[in-house]
Symmetry: C2
Subunit: 332 residues, 2 copies
């Protein structure tokens, strides 16, 4: 029950989520006192239990020491619940590195997957795109990028019901000869794979919606994601400043309010909250640390959707199918 706002956000979001999912039980994992205090303020539904986890992992804490020493942190206890089969998924708004590290350590990766990746959904001109890796793996091999592509395509096929999702390889030009050595080699592997590989895509293709999936290493993906967050924030701030500069602008803002509200809803990042940690033997979803009630409920719904669609089994099947087609590529 971490994140910037703690139980004040996660508890109401959990109750919202339960109200639309009558067949789900939720376990709130964390320090009992803050959870009890927040639950006392709400109309507590029956399908919600508290699991005691007295230790706290700070946002700046060393990941390795947290994994080793904090066996009763909320993150560790929640992932242990998944491992033991007492929970089907774990959702956390805590430290990304600690969550990924703990999940890898406890759950291990799926057969045929060397490295789990962080996969988020981003809005595009024409719908949405699944992009991975967004920061779990700063250094990747071509084989890792192929595995990310397989997992991304399986996510889209399973969750969106698209039979042949298109996969783009993030690069700095559309020609095959473009890019660094890892990306060029990854392009060869992707072209040889049975995936519906579109070819190279560039940064602006993310928001054009050129493909259903975009694959990149975690360094590039993280920079692209955070650059987008920073630019959207700056543009939003500038627009707000201009609309509050003097009486005339404020009147214009009041008149424009329905238009601005529609625009904001269309690009509302809260509707895209919840990144999948894919490639693990368990469903783990990372919520943005600053998530509010609506955003955290979205992350819960995403985890629920992955479980309902049997994502783990589907990835396993897909890896097996692709290994049969290209035996040397997916498991080097």
């Amino acid at each position: 029950m971490g994140g910037d706002h703690g139980p004040r956000v996660t508890v109401p979001a959990s109750i919202d989520f339960l109200s639309v999912r009558p067949d789900v039980d939720l376990l709130l994992v964390g320090q009992p006192e803050p959870l009890a205090r927040e639950l006392a303020r709400q109309a507590r539904p029956e399908r919600l239990d508290v699991v005691d986890a007295p230790e706290v992992v700070g946002m700046d804490e060393d990941v390795r020491s947290a994994i080793r020493n904090k066996k009763r942190s909320s993150m560790r206890v929640a992932i242990d619940l998944v491992k033991e089969g007492r929970a089907q998924a774990c959702v956390s708004a805590g430290n990304t590195g600690a969550l990924m590290g703990t999940a890898k350590f406890v759950l291990k990766t799926l057969p045929g997957i060397d490295r789990p990746a962080i996969c988020a959904v981003l809005p595009t001109r024409t719908g949405q795109v699944y992009m991975l890796d967004l920061g779990a793996n700063a250094d990747c091999t071509p084989e890792h990028l192929l595995q990310f592509a397989i997992m991304g395509a399986t996510l889209v096929r399973s969750l969106e019901g698209k039979a042949r999702p298109t996969v783009g390889l993030l690069n700095i030009g559309s020609e095959e000869i473009k890019g660094n050595e890892v990306v060029k080699k990854a392009g060869e592997l992707l072209r040889a794979s049975p995936l519906n590989f579109h070819g190279n895509v560039e940064g602006d293709d993310i928001y054009k919606g050129t493909t259903d999936v975009i694959v990149c290493d975690g360094f590039v993906g993280n920079v692209a994601l955070k650059t987008s967050e920073g630019l959207a924030k700056m543009l939003g701030d500038f627009l707000k400043e201009e609309y509050t500069r003097g009486v005339f602008s404020k009147v214009a803002a009041a008149i424009s309010w329905p238009v601005i509200r529609r625009f904001r809803e269309r690009v509302d990042h809260r509707r895209y909250n919840g990144a999948a940690l894919v490639g693990l033997r368990g469903v783990v979803v990372k919520s943005h640390g600053s998530a509010d009630r609506l955003a955290f409920a979205t992350a819960l719904a995403r985890a629920d959707s992955e479980v309902r669609h049997g994502l783990l089994e589907r990835i396993g099947e897909e890896i097996a199918r692709l290994n049969a087609a290209t035996p040397s590529a997916a498991t080097p």
Copy 2:
């Protein structure tokens, strides 16, 4: 005289530029007929001459073959003019790879610089930031990144008059242990250098204006830049769509027009057009291919400013000064 729009944009932009810079002469390099046709439609100023360059390099042409075979292309002739000292700078809206390749081939790099880089100015929350490399070098060593930092800091010191520009290293976390191997090693070199090194910055720091300079390899920089272009375009399109959806929205748009215009001016990419190809023995500026009249005139002004501020000499001095301080780092 390339780019998407050719002389129709570059000629009027040149005339605009000359009208505010009475001490500059311009040479228009390109096919004489289209240039003459466009010049006939304008009030042609005296300080403007045409240099014949009959060959054309296409946007999709192989860079190496263009450099080797097209010695009378406008790009090659313009850079030759810089080499011969008949021009002090070259501005082009043509193919970036061909421009960089030709410039490297003809002009060579400055002493102590292994690789030229593409450096653009981006708007930030608090002003602007110089970011490099934006696509010239997909694979970089830590030493290359240090050289980019030296050049970026010299650009800011020379052109903006800041005595000690701050330099940020683009990474996926603020801690020193974050990132891939190249970036970690580059961080060590930057900490050991006499530069005013801020430390790691993340994608969202670009638009926050955390530092005066941001350094990254050309792969990451190109993705960040193009991702920004794509996101800004999508948000602009969405805003436009919402403001034209029905009569009420159009009335709101009309009333909001002065506000929207101020907002657009504030983030107008045309005011930031013109990326410096730094590290060469000559001033070369790349305009966006889709530049309009105002944008292309901005690129001309940027080249003019680099020449006036003696940028090449300043970079040379700075490299010599830093080599004296850290002999092993800047020239490996």
